[in-house]
Symmetry: C2
Subunit: 427 residues, 2 copies
């Protein structure tokens, strides 16, 4: 089966290149931390794109940037939302998040053109950029979508501070994205296109991933508390070295993953050490530990083992440990109607599709309890992610845009209902 | 034997309290990083003290602050130098360094009074505060004394930057201590009074420590290099986690100390992680490792083992390691004439004295190859150091000042020669 749609992808690579210029790094990637000047540039570019299709722009209190695109005759028709995030990690790839926003803009442009040409729609469209998905500058991750979904408090989010002590609210004001608009109502369906960040699609030869579930995750902040001492004269036996305790914990958390090969991912990506001076035994070390699994029972068991490992590690170093923050997120299924719609659209485009889980969180997961959401993946070369070398074949990027556009079209012609959209069109 | 000297210690505790106010912390200690505004306040206080005894103030290019105190009739008479440093670690004790500067100021004041009362001297005195002894804000440590002794380049020192990117030269200019004066000539003897930062004196019941040697030290900066990756989907086997490599190395370096119980101290006090985000496998981690021993052969063996341990740790984590910076400092003996003079002065004061090594480095060691130097210790309660709880009994602080004053008096009456001073006076 070959594609019957006119793929609105001529501008995709140009648009991605334009976004890539916002925060470009020497290594070919981007550093575009949330609410940074570079993030502001990318947001301005998104606004320009929205202006070209006469979208109504709304910026809410936490800087989520919405573009409301009327397609139906009725402004109160159901709403279909497409989007992702423009913020990035430090020295990250150019596609993570940005691809989803760029594709949403182009899908919206295509449907606007169809509406102007006379095609009838029964839902309106909204394109969104969520603030602070990455959790790199302001922790935690999934911030803007979490506020929109009612899972996080807007005031608390605005008060979060980065390592330099700058609050999110201040940073948004500096770049002109501390909004006052009410966000749009909850959509009847939210779709997000993203690079896979893994190797399942690549290994299977599929071009489109229809995401059916999200691994569970446990995020533990552990604090090791010892005593400052001189690294010279202090007898080894008298030292209470918080960094040593953390080092044992990092090693033991890695060993834990080997107890459940392939079924448990563990990591410590972030560490804060005080006073962090070469001549001083550290007295306070905070680590951000993560455990992820597709098996809820395994995750619960591993998380309990991790906490025991932290206690053991602390005891070996003669220090104390506490876990002031635990975020536990169980395994979640995405609605079958939406993933079936994604698969049907891939088939209609003549693209090999595979159902798979996402290990990482995405804004789509933030909205999962509030509305039907779907997540469409395209392959990541070598599974490389959060790295400047992140890449996807141009053809696969185009394929993802085609599927997103087709799914959005079907949804907007089915009053925003994935069930109706699934029935409504066979090719 | 009881003391026959008039101890010039009435102002000691008041002066220490005044210095303690510069950078006081809530926990009863100080944070007075090199060339910070708090350091500027403490330096201003030192200048006030020097002005009261009409000392000639000199500030050299790297901010070393000298007060030249004429005691002899001849301005070209030999010079005896007393001092230490006013900078501190973060959340440090109030005595480390500051005690030596305060005592030097009071000793100078006492000898000036004696000269005015008619006592004859054959050497002049100089009180000094060395810039950046701690290496906390600007690495390495012993910066100002190293430049004075010709062991470090002044331009390179001024170009060193702190974590915020501020150069030492800029920071000194901000607080008004970027000087242009030529430093005084090399003294014929340098004496430094310091808290022990260990428990040898406390355990032995001695009040005065006459330091006879300095442990050797190896300071290695090791850099672990992996690859950024997403902490979620990236398969464990594909990760090249630089923080994991560093954690293995920290644990293994600690284990190394147990191979040589009591004879080898090891530590990692400082770590820098990039990108240091919870969701990203770190690709670059730098650790500042130290090894210290009183046995040169043991230190060389342990340092070689440490480098092997770093390689093994890196290999286990699938990352690379390099050691771009190695500072090796052998065991050194302090001149017997000076430590004998300290012991003789302690005896004259009726104070129990013990000869001992210093594990930590001190400015006195910077000058060791350039002039005879002596280091006088008083007990540290519980050996606590680089910690707000650092303390010494008030009587012991007074005892140290009495010994420093007596030794300075004898030196300045013996043309600055420790050998002549040792012979010159029996009680």
């Amino acid at each position: 089966m070959t594609s019957t749609s006119s793929r609105p992808d001529a501008g995709l690579h140009a648009l991605l290149a334009a976004f890539s210029a916002c925060g470009a790094t020497a290594g070919g990637g981007i550093t575009r931390l949330a609410a940074s000047p570079e993030d502001g540039q990318a947001r301005d570019l998104m606004r320009d794109c929205l202006a070209r299709i006469s979208a109504e722009i709304r910026i809410d209190r936490v800087g989520n940037l919405f573009g409301l695109v009327p397609l139906a005759q009725n402004p109160h028709a159901p709403l279909v939302m497409l989007g992702s995030h423009l913020d990035s990690q430090t020295r990250a790839g150019r596609l993570d998040g940005t691809y989803g926003v760029a594709a949403a803009l182009l899908a919206a442009e295509a449907l606007v053109g169809e509406a102007q040409a006379g095609r009838m729609f029964s839902a309106n469209l909204c394109v969104v950029n969520w603030t602070g998905e990455e959790g790199a500058r302001f922790r935690p991750s999934l911030l803007g979508s979490g506020v929109y979904a009612g899972r996080r408090d807007a005031d608390a989010a605005l008060a979060l501070r980065d390592e330099a002590g700058i609050a999110l609210g201040e940073a948004l004001a500096v770049i002109g994205y501390a909004g006052t608009d009410a966000p749009p109502p909850m959509p009847t369906c939210y779709l997000e296109l993203h690079v896979e960040q893994g190797t399942v699609l690549e290994a299977s030869g599929a071009v489109i991933g229809a995401v059916t579930g999200n691994w569970g995750a446990a995020k533990l902040d552990a604090v090791f508390s010892g005593a400052q001492a001189h690294t010279g004269p202090t007898p080894m036996a008298d030292r209470r070295d918080a960094l040593l305790g953390a080092a044992y914990a990092i090693a033991d958390l890695r060993a834990l993953a080997d107890l459940f090969p392939g079924r448990l991912h563990t990591s410590v990506g972030r560490i804060r050490v005080a006073p962090n001076s070469a001549n001083v035994v550290p007295d306070r070390v905070e680590i951000a530990a993560e455990l992820r699994s597709a098996d809820d029972a395994l995750l619960a068991e591993a998380t309990a083992l991790a906490e025991v490992a932290f206690e053991t590690a602390a005891a070996r170093a003669g220090v104390a440990v506490s876990v002031p923050t635990r975020e536990l997120r169980g395994i979640r299924a995405l609605p079958a109607a939406v993933s079936d719609l994604v698969a049907a659209c891939a088939e209609a485009e003549g693209l090999a599709c595979r159902r798979l889980d996402t290990v990482a969180g995405h804004d789509a997961l933030s909205l999962l309890e509030r509305c039907p959401t779907g997540l469409i993946f395209v392959p990541s070369l070598g599974g490389i992610a959060h790295n400047e070398a992140e890449a996807t074949a141009p053809r696969d990027l185009e394929a993802g845009l085609a599927v997103l556009t087709r799914a959005a079209r079907r949804l907007c012609r089915a009053a925003g209902s994935p069930e109706i959209a699934l029935q409504g069109e066979s090719a």
